[in-house]
Subunit: 345 residues, 2 copies
Amino acid sequence: MRFVKDIKSIFIMSLLINAALFIIFWSDVELGLEAVFQRAIKLQVKNKVCDVNLNDDRPYISNKTDLKMIYYVTPTYPRPEQTPELTRLAHTLMHVPSIHWIVADDQPVCSDQVLSILRKTGLPFTYISSPKPYLYKTHNFPRGVANRRAALTWLHENVKEGILYFGDDDNTVDLELFNEIRQTKKVSMFPVGLIGEYGVSAPVVKNGKVVGFFDSWPGLRTFPVDMAGFAINIEFLSPNAIMPYTVGQEEDKFLVSTGVKLEDIEPLANNCSKILVWHTRTTKNKVPTLKIDIEKLNNMLKYDSFVNLLKELTKMGMAHVSPNNGSKTFIIRNRSKYDPLTDLK
Amino acid sequence: MRFVKDIKSIFIMSLLINAALFIIFWSDVELGLEAVFQRAIKLQVKNKVCDVNLNDDRPYISNKTDLKMIYYVTPTYPRPEQTPELTRLAHTLMHVPSIHWIVADDQPVCSDQVLSILRKTGLPFTYISSPKPYLYKTHNFPRGVANRRAALTWLHENVKEGILYFGDDDNTVDLELFNEIRQTKKVSMFPVGLIGEYGVSAPVVKNGKVVGFFDSWPGLRTFPVDMAGFAINIEFLSPNAIMPYTVGQEEDKFLVSTGVKLEDIEPLANNCSKILVWHTRTTKNKVPTLKIDIEKLNNMLKYDSFVNLLKELTKMGMAHVSPNNGSKTFIIRNRSKYDPLTDLK
């Protein structure tokens, strides 16, 4: 009898605990998870502003002071394609007057490589190290949220006016888009090419007003748009506007949190009939480990250029080099393969 | 007996025919195939120079006349990513003084879309329609050879001096590369990132001379380099230099046909220790067919912007629109799905 009673109370207890956990998770997944796991995992990650440059050092751009500043927020993360992606996007932004590039990088340290790309542009920029919480490292975490939140924090603390735009490092933007978004009064929207199963995601405009959305994935969203499909006037952006850690709902929940209404939305790009930005995606490359003894090569002298190339490769995250592990490498000369460089005469 | 004799002679005949075909194909695959199939398929494809602009219309670039012209040859082909790729590459080239962009397009007509991208750049350019021979349409044909050949022909007929560089529409180029290649006397070489299993393809330099190559795929090549890994002075380029229709051998056979020797090669990018160009690749998108009756929409009035967006989508090759076939589409408003636009109030 006593035994049955114990089982009963254990059963009821477990039911209650389950119910409590269920309510916590359901009511606010994000807060719930953070509250539960923050103590468990001890979050050590911190955002850090690595560098800020407020000067526009481009001699070929005439920076008219009456143009509103565009704050172009780019979340990025270390990978073999990071250097080329940022380089390529930089070339686009370098044509745009009155622009400030906020690059928020998902790595716990400030990267010399990223910083050197930013400095070469001559653009005003802010470089933030904004690693994602460890909590999300092992999950199917939403990429870029920690970065965009860090950028929003920096904006709230440092900027009073201008236009906010979220532009990923692999997107392609037509220069016309910048003239368009600079006019944004509250929230503007426009089509994004190469999204989903329609090949585009776009607001539908009737008599100059946004009346609906053409997007292949509704996802129970009030504003079914891509991150690259809207811009916001910073004066309209209250500190309460926040992006959630919820995959696929980032744009919608952020826009809803700004308090914007459907009737407020300003359709751009000729009433959303032109495509001025594309969600291009770059094929990911594996990071190979190359079995090469750099020390030995260095001692051989005369191959210092090759040693420097290997260091460059490592710095860009495009390969690891190890004396002990990795795939065997060779040098080619006269259609023959040579194993160590010493064989080359 | 008579029957056996017939069989015998048929067998011998077929052996002889096979041997003849084998010899033709083996001795020169390209010529052989062309000779055999040209009559069979009736090649109707012709290159056509769609437009040439020799003026540099960029107000922000000071074109010093003493800088050698760089002829940047970009093979391209129609696909959903063509417009963004060319747009993105244009933004890079627009920073470079003294450059002429040769875009050779694998489509049998001149594309208004491509032409409009080129005209917006302000760059000097040549736009060539250079469809690949029909012959190669069904095979695992080498992409971009017909285009590069067309560009070479145009160069031979119109240009006496300058530097030739092959730059694909999806590659990423650091602006420093242009200063480097402009110095090319005969043939220069330099590392290309994100190639093969080493993450890079690069010449190996010893005491300032190229002594070998670091490339994961030897492919029995004298010059195991990527198309983006070399530049040529046009004065060094004889009309006999030709690119073969052989997958994987295009670079090598072309370089061998120029008559360049290993000892002639000029190593750039700080003795091939820096990476200034990357073989980035863009994920391919499917071209969806959307079931939408454009005529009907047009008659409904008030949705002309949306009709124009659908036309833009088609023009960019990012979707087909048909009243009868394709996937059903819907419009989203207030988190609900509406089938025809007439339902939207």
